[in-house]
């Protein structure tokens, strides 16, 4: 698991290789540390986490501004509410 700052207000969480519940758990905990309006880019390759992260964002009001997938890796950019 790696977290890094890409630029001001934009962070990247890399949880590739992790199985449930780690990707969704790390996403939730990292988002909790961000400020409203910050962007978190999450990289994961556990397909089950896709639905859970979407449901988590829906519940908390975070906006998924971009969804991509590339060779089994999902890349979500989430704007914190």
């Amino acid at each position: 698991m790696k977290v890094k700052k890409l630029e001001n207000g934009v962070y990247q969480l890399d949880v590739k290789g992790y199985v449930c519940p780690h990707p969704q758990l790390y996403t939730m905990k990292t988002l909790q540390k961000l400020k409203s309006g910050d962007i978190l880019e999450v990289l994961f390759d556990n397909p089950s986490s896709e639905e859970s992260i979407t449901a988590l964002c829906d519940k908390e009001g975070h906006e998924i501004v971009e969804r991509r997938s590339d060779g089994g890796t999902f890349i979500y950019r989430i704007k914190k509410a």
Binding site: G17, V19, C20, T30, P47, S69
Partner: protein, 462 residues
């Protein structure tokens, strides 16, 4: 390049289906009675597709509820069970059900608790571990191996599982709610429907869903309803009041929040029902009650139990066949795996290619692999050391829990509840307790990992 990769993925997806077809035809050409175990494999294939497509893992029902406050999968399994229970009532009334209730006792709660601890650590329940293995998940593959060997060793070691079976589990009462309320077997459709579907499944399902709505999902849904109502108020204001209609609308919002999961739940319920009916029809067609009878007739007497049976549930099941493959391997290393009740008297140790339920599990893996390949979601992921530890530990706990409860999230919960056996709910509650404990542990662990990353947003922001 991308086109080449896509073509390769599609080729492998269709190859999986092609290999299944060729093997099925070969089995049939050797002996038509193998149609019975081929049916298991293809129903497994269908489960695998639906589980992977719907991201349908029973572990996440409790886990995501506790860990991130998401009700998606909790809703999914409740919907799947409600649908399946209605079909089961119809099948029972028409003498087409292969279901038998299990012994009702505290072992189901304890087994569920141990299983629940394991499934959260391993990152998937018994069925989830199979479909995630099909996605190329190395941690799930390790968990699968751990489930297989832990069960085989657990039921054989020291003979104390025999003592538990004889001394406590077997003497417990076995009944479905319809049998208890209306008395005896051979009941009418209405009686099975009221007892097994309505009382044992649908009412508790609605209670659990209401609790999930009230304590977990409601806050964010109601917030949105209030915002919408407030926006519609005149400029001079007024009070926003929530009506019963709003609450029912909110409840429906929770049910339909993940359409994919809910639809998968409905389809899984239907397939599980058709599976039960198909297996009973095939038993009638071939004049057998257990595939062991067919194996004995073909001369494979070493593969069956002392009763002449093998594990042949007649419905969706996961863990016993994994124990059997574990025992089959251990026998090759010289272990005597048949001097116990579980293998020796109840389930036998058939060769893997003669094992009906094992072919179903292989079908699940292949079905999940095919759909994951088609949807560009297949990726081999070797486990890290950390995940390998959680996978193996979780698998061992799931194996032990499944044996204590005589089943896993499918055999001891999903099938049992929908079949009218109240003991399935004991397993479910135990599973919830175990999941809660493991979630608390993983919460602590992930917090610790984040600290090690030296991830401090407040310092980094200027």
């Amino acid at each position: 390049m991308a086109d080449d990769a896509d073509r390769r993925r599609k080729f492998w997806a269709f190859s999986v289906v092609g290999i299944m077809l060729i093997i099925s035809l070969w089995y049939y050409s050797v002996n038509p009675i193998y149609m019975y175990i081929i049916a298991y494999a293809w129903f497994g294939f269908a489960y695998g597709i639906l589980l992977q497509w719907g991201r349908f893992c029973f572990a996440s029902a409790w886990r995501d509820l506790f860990a991130i406050g998401v009700t998606r999968m909790f809703v999914g399994i409740m919907v799947a069970m409600a649908v399946f229970s209605v079909i089961m009532a119809v099948l029972a009334a028409n003498d087409l059900s292969t279901f038998h209730p299990g012994p009702l006792g505290i072992h189901e709660l304890i087994g569920g608790l141990i299983f629940g601890l394991g499934m959260v650590l391993a990152g998937g329940c018994a069925s989830g571990t199979l479909y995630k293995s099909g996605e190329g998940n190395g941690t799930s593959m390790l968990a699968l191996v751990a489930i297989s060997f832990s069960q085989a060793i657990f039921v054989d070691a020291q003979g104390w599982f025999d003592k538990l079976l004889r001394g406590y589990i077997f003497p417990q009462p076995k009944f479905t709610i319809a049998e208890k309320v209306f008395g005896g077997k051979n009941l009418s459709l209405g009686e099975y429907f009221i007892g097994d579907a309505i009382i044992n499944t649908i009412i508790p399902t609605l209670i659990f869903l209401s609790l999930a709505y009230w304590f977990v999902a409601r806050r964010s849904i109601v917030k949105r309803i209030i915002e919408k109502k407030a926006a519609a108020l005149p400029a001079n204001g007024g009070d926003v009041k929530l009506s019963l209609k709003d609450e029912l609308y909110g409840f429906w919002q929770m049910i339909t929040a993940s359409k994919r999961t809910t639809l998968a739940g409905i389809l899984i319920g239907i397939i599980a029902g058709v599976h039960v009916m198909a297996m009973q029809s095939l038993r009638d067609k071939f004049g057998i009650e257990n595939f062991g009878q067919a194996l004995v007739k073909m001369g494979f007497v070493d593969e069956v139990s002392k009763r002449g049976t093998v594990f042949d549930p007649g419905y969706w099941y996961i863990t016993t066949q994994e124990a059997q493959i574990g025992a089959w391997v251990l026998e090759k290393f010289g272990w005597n795996m048949r001097d116990n009740i579980y293998f020796g008297i109840m389930n036998g140790i058939p060769n893997p290619w003669h094992n009906p339920a094992l072919l179903m599990s292989i079908g699940i893996i292949l079905g999940a692999a095919a759909i994951a390949l088609l949807n560009k979601e297949f990726k081999f992921k070797a486990p890290t050391r950390e995940l390998a530890v959680w996978g193996i530990l979780g698998g061992v706990l799931m194996g032990i829990g499944a044996r204590v409860a005589l089943g896993c999230n499918i055999g001891a919960f999903y099938i049992r509840v929908a079949g009218g056996d109240p003991g399935g709910w004991l397993f479910f509650l135990g599973m919830g307790g175990g999941a809660l404990a493991s979630v608390k542990f993983l919460n602590w662990w992930t917090e610790r990992q984040l600290k090690e990353e030296d991830f401090d947003i407040d310092i980094e922001i200027e």
